[in-house]
Amino acid sequence: MTTPIRHLLKTPLYDWHVAHGGRMVDFAGWAMPVQYASIIEEHNATRSAVGMTDISHMGRLRFEGPGAAVFLAELLTRRVADMALGQIRYSLVTNDQGGILDDVLVGYYHNEMGQPFYVLVVNASNRAMIVRWIHEHLSPERANRPREEIVFSDVSDLWAMFAIQGPRAKDLLQPFVDEDLESMKYYRGALVHIFHPAARRQGGIISRTGYTGEDGFELSLGAGIACGVWEALMEAGKSVGAVPTGLGARDTLRLEAGMPLYGHEISEQIDPFRAGLGSACYLTGYNFPGRDALLALEKQPQQLVRVGLEMLGRRVPRQGCGILKDGRSAGEVTSGSFSPTLKKPIAMGYVPPELAAPETKVEIDVRGTHEPARVVPLPFYSRKKTKK
């Protein structure tokens, strides 16, 4: 049973998507455009110019107060207290067994008054569960201890968020903001003024982050000004070849970039080491949930590892397809699609370590037929880095 679109949550851009041919689908309870015209064209525009995606469905959680840094350090697998102003880190939230509850970005900013705050960007599908998890770990005593107070707010519905990705993203965005984007480093962000009448003198947060493997930015701004600013960006984007991109292209872009997606490569049943995300775990600092379990897991040999797979034929493997070696079951595909850049089907999946070396030949069970594939290094695609 699919939920009728009219019963789904809507971002501030919903009407814009519908008016511009967006094919609306149910994504984690949100009505989101999977594509406007062609996924391949939207994908290629992001690699060659700019793709603009509405990602307002992402959960945005804000933490303020003197206790925020330590609270987050005791919640996340990465360190938080040592972050520089404007720094962003990729982190995991793990359960007591070390299983992955979510993968998140944590950013550290100062507001207009110079007061510090943190923003946690969580997956739409996990937002309600993570908010519950946070409340469970916010002990009532903490709020009463001086210098440990925390103000936690779920601002997801108050803020819209756009991903503006591709080699021309900087050129498109620079005239809109008062931050020098050229000098902004990867995984850094800043509060900015938005120079456009549609922004009604409101600001936003811009960060050099993304989920496409391209250079690019993500912009958070008030829901009330979102549509006006989006339209202004679209208008300005015509000169650099910007196109709106749906979740279909977002998925093929992140797959080529070898980035994990919650519910595919990562889940509560998968620990960070298996997922190849050990570097997102800092185990000698704060005692976050799952830390002790991860200390034990770290020493154990891996039973499965995440690999990239390239098909020799043209049939496309999808999540759940079995991976076989010499006819025997060896693993499972977690994501698969046609790669618009490589022009062949690709996949990610888990296999035993002895099958993880690049060029290892395997077969993938695509709807009953065993199709030949080979293991390839991740990512499938990396952009040519420009000199800084």
């Binding site: 999977v34 594509q35 062609s38 996924i39 391949i40 279909g248 043209r314 496309v316 999808r318 699609s337």
Partner: protein, 133 residues
């Protein structure tokens, strides 16, 4: 527009039924413009083998897009007598001439009663309009 002289299925295949010089009923089969609009971004088409039996409303091949794979059905009961081998190598062109050059297969009809279940162009367009809303 969908040609008036064709028959259509609920699952967006079309059939052009003609009588051969040998007096056999042959259905030329393809998929409709509406199907191409629904699918977009084709990456793979698997046509049936010549000689295989085809049953109306039953899958005879696969059509895969970036997003997902779908079956395509035979509109008629019969035997596949010819396939358009150029189709899998011209995926980006198929939607430009879906009722002409890019037919998928020809099926020799063994039982004409299956034709009663197919729609004319007007009925098919009504169904597409309902699906689209």
């Amino acid at each position: 527009m969908n040609p008036q002289d064709l028959l259509y299925t609920k699952t967006h295949e079309w059939a052009r039924v003609e009588t051969s010089s040998a007096g056999e009923k042959i259905a030329t089969v393809g998929i409709t413009t509406f199907a191409y609009e629904l699918l977009t971004d084709l990456v793979f088409v698997a046509l049936p083998e010549v000689g295989r039996t085809a049953q109306a409303e039953t899958p005879v091949g696969e059509i895969e897009s970036v997003k997902a794979v779908s079956d395509f059905n035979s509109p008629v009961d019969g035997e596949v007598v010819e396939v358009n081998a150029e189709v899998p190598n011209n995926l980006d062109k198929l939607s430009q001439d879906p009722y002409g050059r890019w037919w998928f297969m020809k099926i020799k009809i063994t039982d004409e009663t299956c034709l009663k279940n197919l729609m004319d162009a007007a009925a098919y367009e009504k169904q597409c309009a309902e699906e689209h809303s």
